[in-house]
Homo-oligomer: 424 residues x 2
């Protein structure tokens, strides 16, 4: 591994040779340890208890290497930058090289280091390898998670049409959808989660920069507050309706539930996706001005929860088992509960967003819904079919963006790269 | 003061009478102490050393009451939600009542409490007084700072035309400006700064809700990372160009500099604005893709700083006094330095932003510039005149939004309200 160099300040050598060893940022030392520990095929995120504990205060690094990609079962930091890309090159080798370059950059950035030789090198006469705005910041539990959209497998593009997973369907049109093309789809996606939004934004920006001429951002979404948690002990966050709604999420340490509901198995196939998952992303606009004029009682009836405690109707505590028949047939909890959906569970990692104002003086705010699952045909699709038809919440929300991605397994080691199993 | 009520969970009384005493959120106890301490006319933000120290980790409250509004000289938390409002009512009394209602809500929210009787009351048959998404979150150093735009003083509106400060001019058109109407101007503004973006977003949303039918959001801007600091000991943050550029900002504890450059004095007038300030807000789009293809040497020449250390050209450390003649005549530091501007200084509180992607696949990112000053005619205007003509940075930036506000003095006590001096 290259030698690390602290920020000493003051004048510095302009020699390119000398600067090639002047790598890293302040604070990267700790992160390197994490990468070294995670850089073996035996370090699995989902079985790593420390990865699921809350390290927000320490700004620690989450191991990048493992059987599964980080950013799914790992703890959910509070900030998000999500980007969908169109692949603009037609050359398969260029795409493969991009994925290799992205993997190398992602391994460095999640460890708290700059891309390549960092923000200040390698030579003054060239643009620096890294854009620099995260220099000096902690790793901040940054995770970068890649996905492959259905369009990547189209015939005549990269020769992947035979490798398209059967479950990577086009999502059906649901009643009430008002999808904007400019906020939907994408050949690739990268989900960046971090405690510090500047770290998440920096990561997406630098991947976009590396992709110049090969892939371009199609749409992106910032999220400022998580609405679901994978750590069962943490306080459940509230969504923009003021409710706790991620209560019964799959825990990042519940290996059995993850195996049953999240990770693609050998039996599912295809082989290249084993250990991976499927991600559904939906931009859900909330009509918060209308909601805010609704009575507390009606709000609670709609969700099927007590607003203060998060407890299901008629129960005392948030985590009490709901009695579905006590709820209105149109209440959100009743319709979405696994007992009403043949036991189906999905792992949610959604974020609240506010993107300024629409043309009518209303906040453009809502939920950027992200959910991981083993098979979207036995996950999001049947649940959303039911919700779109019956959920009392529909009066207050509208789905305006939509995308589906196949999420490959983790990068096993330093020689591995995102998508190796798919392209080889 | 009303009795506080912890979150006990479980079933709760539906009696409206009983619930009227069920106020507050978890964690509000600490905050109330802060308000009580700050609730006297002698508690001045700018001379309060503890307010200027970094309390991010503890999530403490910043006193709302004082001679100056909080959010100017107080420490700069990392997240921003800024909103400009159009006043839609034509009734002066309604506007006054709105300002009183906003003041009461602001005092509660900055203390970590909900608006009115909170997110769960007062009675189930009505919409709750507060929207609830910040329930349970810490005060997070939330500050709310109000401003009055030039259009509020227009003849035939609220009878304020005689009270318009001479210095509340229309900003001139600067070379290179490409201002969008939908991101400029406003009758009122509220700047919400906080450690937790959900707390800042919640505050603007609830003020907008209180304003329904009287004032509507004209535009708003989220910021994810501060680019300037008022606490001299803190590490200077980096902007989206990867540079430390807020180095020589006015410190929140430098009473002399604040008196000279930030606070409106009796001599300046008008009387109602004494102890207040002027705020310039500029949305500055950064062409980061172009910048990222520029060599390190050129980047450093443009700023006049070492990118790694932030030191001025030829100097060793960030805080060393720059030798302006060693810099290119078009370098940013040289042009903006007080020595090149008759000693003019402004207090900057800008934030980096990223608002998704423009139609061309480029990140819509940049700097939301916020600067406070005693007189914009001897502050932002002459500095920007010079920068707009000469700054080498202009190749990489464009001002796309602009607004100017008069910032009234602080709310002195519980009986005082935002704008009392102006309207009485």
């Amino acid at each position: 591994m290259e030698q690390q160099h602290g920020q000493t300040g003051g004048t510095r050598s302009r020699s390119a040779v000398a600067r090639r060893s002047l790598l890293g940022w302040g604070g990267a030392g700790v992160a390197l340890g994490a990468v070294a520990a995670g850089g073996t095929a035996t370090a699995l995120h989902s079985s790593n208890a420390s990865a699921a504990s809350d390290g927000a205060a320490t700004g620690q690094a989450v191991p990048f290497h493992g059987a599964h990609q980080a950013g799914i079962a790992t703890a959910v930091p509070d900030r998000l930058h999500f980007a969908a890309f169109d692949v603009t090159t037609k050359d398969r080798a260029e795409l493969v090289q991009l994925l290799k370059d992205w993997t190398a950059a992602a391994a460095r950035m999640t460890a708290g280091e700059g891309v390549g030789e960092g923000a200040f090198g390698p030579i003054p006469e060239s643009p620096p390898d890294d854009t620099g705005e995260a220099a000096g910041l902690k790793p901040s539990r940054l995770t970068l998670t890649i996905g492959f959209g259905p369009s990547l497998f189209d015939k005549g593009r990269f020769g992947l049409e035979e490798r398209r997973p059967e479950a990577l369907v086009e999502l059906p049109a649901f009643p009430g959808d008002k999808l904007e093309k400019a906020r939907s789809g994408g050949d690739l996606c990268v989900q960046a989660c971090a405690d510090d939004p500047q770290v998440a934004v920096h990561a997406i920006r630098n991947l976009a920069r590396i992709g110049f001429g090969k892939a371009a951002i199609r749409w992106s979404q910032l999220g400022f507050g998580k609405t679901s948690s994978t750590t069962p002990d943490a306080q459940t966050p509230r969504n923009m309706f003021g409710f706790k709604d991620g209560t019964r999420n799959i825990s990042g340490t519940d290996t059995e539930a993850l195996g049953k509901h999240v990770w693609v198995s050998k039996k599912d196939g295809p082989e290249w996706l084993v250990g991976g998952s499927y991600l559904v992303a939906r931009r859900i606009r909330m009509h918060i001005e209308t909601w805010d004029r609704t009575s507390l009682k009606e709000q609670e009836d709609i969700f099927g929860r007590d607003k203060r405690t998060g407890a299901p109707v008629g129960k005392a505590k948030e985590h009490d088992e709901p009695f579905l028949k006590a709820m209105l047939p149109t209440s959100h909890v009743r319709l979405a509960h696994p007992d009403a959906n043949d036991g189906i569970r999905i792992l949610r990692r959604g974020y609240s967003f506010t993107d300024g104002t629409d043309g009518l003086g209303r906040l453009d705010a809502g939920l950027f819904f992200l959910a991981y699952q083993r098979d979207v045909r036995r996950g999001f699709i049947p649940i959303q079919r039911k919700l779109a038809r019956n959920d009392a919440l529909n009066e207050y929300i509208q789905h305006v963006g939509s995308a589906l991605f196949a999420i490959p397994p983790g990068v096993r080691s330093k020689d591995d790269w995102w998508g190796r199993e798919l392209f080889s």
